[in-house]
Symmetry: C5
Subunit: 87 residues, 5 copies
């Protein structure tokens, strides 16, 4: 998984029906966890707020781990970091 | 997921029979979401146009999320961004 | 998916029995689609020739999309580009 | 897989219910195995300690290989290196 | 897939029970196939020796292609290159 900060969100009205009801948060990966690129978009089943540091799973883990096996999701917030100063 | 701009398309007549009927759009990932490389090819079940900013899922999510589980697809447009100026 | 040029092939006699019968083509990804590295090896169920530009799927899509679900394949040529000058 | 050193851990109280009971260890990949970024977060079913060098599997192997098929896990410690000086 | 050279091995006594019986070889990817990082660890069901050039599959293909579907394996040697001078 990677740790990153929620820095914004995007809205997509015309989208796959399997994505309806999801929030799309923009995550900026922590500098030393910049998995290929510094930002990515993740769904947020946990309910993190802008500015919070979160744990993000990518790949099939995002879809299956969020109970949305058939949805086109490859990144999901799976936890909120208690104390980002420990990073 | 990543956000990118539709910058073109490619045509492949001699291809896997499981890909027939799909459009292959060239996506240029937003600068800060350049997942490994700045461009990739994605199928377009949503119907985005050239110049539009789109949400792209990669990996098994692309195949399964587009309802084409058995097709050789590793990237798919899954939504069109309402307001790219928010990015 | 990525687009790349077929630049050669490799031969492996001592290999997984599940790979017997496959050709292993060396693909050089187009400069702006250099997914992590500029070259990779893909199987070629389509029958592309050296010098042709091809569409390549990676990950589980390569295995499943080529009907070789149980084979150790993570990249496959899935189409030949009609007009590479459009890239 | 990659080899890395356990350099810390993160705590996430508000998280996916499927992650409860897991430790989240920060792994710094060995310099020449820096898979996309030098750090990542992995679960630790093996019980490695801070400072130990570990073998880490990523992708679906992490979830399935740890017997947590339905959990949002994309990286897991799967072994502790006997003699890191051999690396 | 990628092509790389077997440059060493690592031993892990305390490991996932699903990995018992496997050799863990260190592979240095060929310069132009450096998938994200130049080295990785792969299991070796084929029996390659140190110094040999091998074909490596990564991701779910490694696990499933090696007949170890439930093991935490994300990279596997799947063939030995007949003539590395062709690379």
């Amino acid at each position: 998984m990677i740790v990153g900060k929620v820095v914004g969100s995007v809205i997509s009205t015309r989208k796959s029906s399997k994505l309806v009801g999801n929030k799309f948060m923009i995550i900026e990966a922590c500098a030393d966890m910049q998995k290929e690129s510094c930002r990515l978009v993740a769904i947020d089943p946990i309910g993190a707020g802008i500015g919070e540091y979160v744990l993000v799973a990518t790949g099939s883990a995002a879809r299956i781990g969020s109970g949305m096996d058939l949805a086109p999701i490859d990144a999901a917030i799976v936890g909120i970091i208690d104390d980002p100063s420990e990073l």
